[in-house]
């Protein structure tokens, strides 16, 4: 039996929700009270104008606007790439320091003094978010959405022998547990990224949707096949390492490039060892989504390294982060609740688990090769410093 991390009397009480709400409400009132001279002036002027029955129509003045340059659709429809061809709408600033929601390319300068500041927009460096493939991936993500309720032939699902059903359900439990960190992590940073990087925010929103669907489809598969089985501490530490990453780029490297790269391998393995066409379809659909996230992770890291003012410093910080991150991720990918069910499915039954472990060992080397290749593609040479053994720990 595992030891708890703290004794019951050491656990701090949960925050009192009512008190927090009252405090937050008081803070909210104070903020808008402090700035009331600005927004109440806007309100009063608007009401006075409307009461006089007069119009402003200032918004029809195009002298400072980029008016009349019509975007032309391409064969795919009207994409971000198409509208970004119209100057200056496609100029992505090096520093996204516009402090509120005013759209990039709109007439906004005359109003800046009257606009609020969104303090949460702290990821202002383009190199911390941009990837040269982000628009392509966003369009691809929208086009390749699928529906876990309708697009899986659930009516074909038939019971498996108990060992294989349990192994499948445990694998799905693992995936249900880990998938939504890839939704929570972009959510955590999405509201910290200014509207100047709207293409990145759009892509991250698709990633959140993808992960919601993955969590959904694996939960459904487990419960349709027998039920959810065991959660695991090793998974949780890996997920926390992702969620607590100190910067967007570091977290994106750890989540999208490393962890999702490994989960992509799990999905491919899942498709390979699936015992039903239902499972094949689930894994094939999911691996496509995951590969998009991996591609963003690779190119976001490359963009960060290429654009950094001090590449050597950036590289060393990334290596330090990876030294920790790789080992924590390894804690998940060595958990019995993951490798044992996969080995049972790979071998074809509980009695063939040893055979399955041998197969897993061969796949392990391929996983790590791909991870190293993705790092190198991003300009992050990790081969010599990688903390994950290139050979599976159970192979001697």
């Amino acid at each position: 039996m595992r030891q708890p991390f703290a004794r019951p009397n050491e656990i701090l009480p949960l925050p009192v929700t009512g008190h927090m709400t009252a405090e937050a409400l008081a803070s909210y009132e104070a903020y808008f009270g402090h700035h009331a001279n600005v927004w109440t002036q806007i309100l009063e002027e608007n009401v006075a104008r409307l009461s006089r029955g007069s119009y402003s129509l200032h918004w029809m003045d195009t002298s400072q606007a980029n008016w009349g340059k019509r975007a032309k659709p391409s064969s795919r429809g009207l994409t971000y790439t198409d509208i970004n061809r119209v100057a200056p709408y496609g100029e992505i600033p090096l520093v996204g320091n516009w402090p509120n929601f005013a759209p990039r390319g709109s007439v906004r300068d005359p109003y800046i003094e009257q606009m609020p500041v969104v303090e949460d927009y702290i990821v202002t460096d383009r190199g911390e978010v941009w990837a040269e493939n982000v628009i392509t991936l966003y369009e691809e993500a929208k086009a390749r959405q699928w529906n876990a309720t309708r697009d899986i032939p659930w009516d074909e699902l038939t019971p498996l022998p108990e060992d294989l059903e349990k192994a499948t359900s445990q694998l799905c439990t693992f995936l249900t547990e880990v998938e939504f960190v890839a939704g929570d992590f972009p959510c955590k940073w999405l509201y910290r990224i200014p509207q100047e990087f709207l293409e990145v925010k759009s892509f991250l929103a698709t990633q959140v949707m993808d992960e919601a669907r993955h969590q959904e489809v694996f939960r459904k598969r487990a419960i349709a096949g027998g039920g959810l089985l065991h959660a695991s501490p090793g998974f949780e530490w890996a997920l926390k390492a992702v969620l607590d990453a100190p910067s967007h780029t570091m977290g994106t490297y750890l989540l999208n490039l490393l962890a999702e790269g490994l989960v992509l391998s799990v999905f491919r393995s899942g498709e390979m060892i699936a015992k039903t066409h239902v499972d094949k379809e689930i894994f094939r659909r999911c691996l496509q989504d995951e590969a998009r996230h991996v591609s963003y992770g690779v190119m976001e890291l490359k963009g960060y390294i290429d654009s950094h003012a001090n590449p050597a410093k950036a590289m060393e910080e990334l290596h330090r982060f990876a030294d920790v991150g790789e080992l924590v991720i390894l804690s998940a990918f060595t958990e019995p609740a993951l490798i044992e069910p996969v080995s049972i499915l790979l071998g074809g039954g509980l009695d063939k688990i040893d055979h399955g472990m041998e197969g897993m060992g061969k796949l392990w080397e391929m996983f790590i090769d791909e991870y190293i290749a993705r790092c190198e593609r991003a300009g992050f040479p990790r081969r010599e410093r990688c903390r994950i053994p290139t050979r599976a720990p159970w192979l001697h």
Binding site: E139, E140, R144, D151, T276, R284, L363, R374
Partner: protein, 195 residues
């Protein structure tokens, strides 16, 4: 040699009811991909440009399904290691763009320039390709559990996934369902095998 696949001239727009499910091929196998009787069609030789062009034509005729699956943008190379003259290698590249296969060509399997054009390549023996194609035909457009593209390629054997650029190589995964259904369309005609 280059034979452009026929583009979809008459675009079939998806049903006005966006929620209408396009049948999963397995749910009604006989109607999803009609399997012609032997007296209805000639066999198409595998491997050949004509064979891959027939798949491209099938894909382009079924735009509604492609629109449901989503964009597929990549150049895929399929190599038959012992399918060429004298048992040597032979390779075919298919260019996918948006919802269509827009080009099919035979390439020189020893040419780095030709290889560089492809985002990834799948290498296998004629026997492996044949087993996959026959499994798809037997399943009426759906391969058996052991004959999907991913199943055959994941461990590096019997199909080997190749590519010098991991980012481009990863397009094989990004479009895997579309690529699988590209091959599944081979159930719509009869295949003869070289050798």
């Amino acid at each position: 040699m280059s034979t452009p696949a026929s583009r979809c001239e008459g675009i079939i727009f998806p049903s006005a009811d966006a929620n209408q499910r396009i049948p999963f091929p397995s749910s009604d196998r006989s109607s999803a991909i009609p399997f012609p009787s032997s007296n209805e069609s000639e066999r198409i030789l595998f491997p050949s440009v004509q064979w891959f062009s027939a798949l491209a034509d099938a894909m382009n005729r079924n735009r509604a399904r492609q629109e449901q699956l989503g964009y597929v943008d990549c150049v895929a190379e399929f190599r038959v290691l012992d399918g060429g003259p004298g048992g040597g290698p032979v390779a075919y590249q298919v260019t996918f763009e948006e919802f269509a296969a827009i080009d099919v060509r035979e390439t020189d399997p020893t040419s780095p320039a030709d290889a560089g054009r492809a985002d990834f390549a799948l290498d296998a023996s004629l026997g492996t390709w044949r087993a996959m194609i026959e499994s798809i035909a037997h399943g009426g457009g759906r391969p058996g559990l052991d004959h999907t593209l991913n199943r055959l390629s994941h461990a590096g054997t019997p199909i080997a996934l190749r590519g010098d650029d991991q980012l481009r190589k990863d397009t094989y995964f990004r479009f895997n369902q579309s690529l699988q259904e590209f091959f599944n369309a081979s159930a719509g005609f009869r295949t003869a095998f070289s050798g």
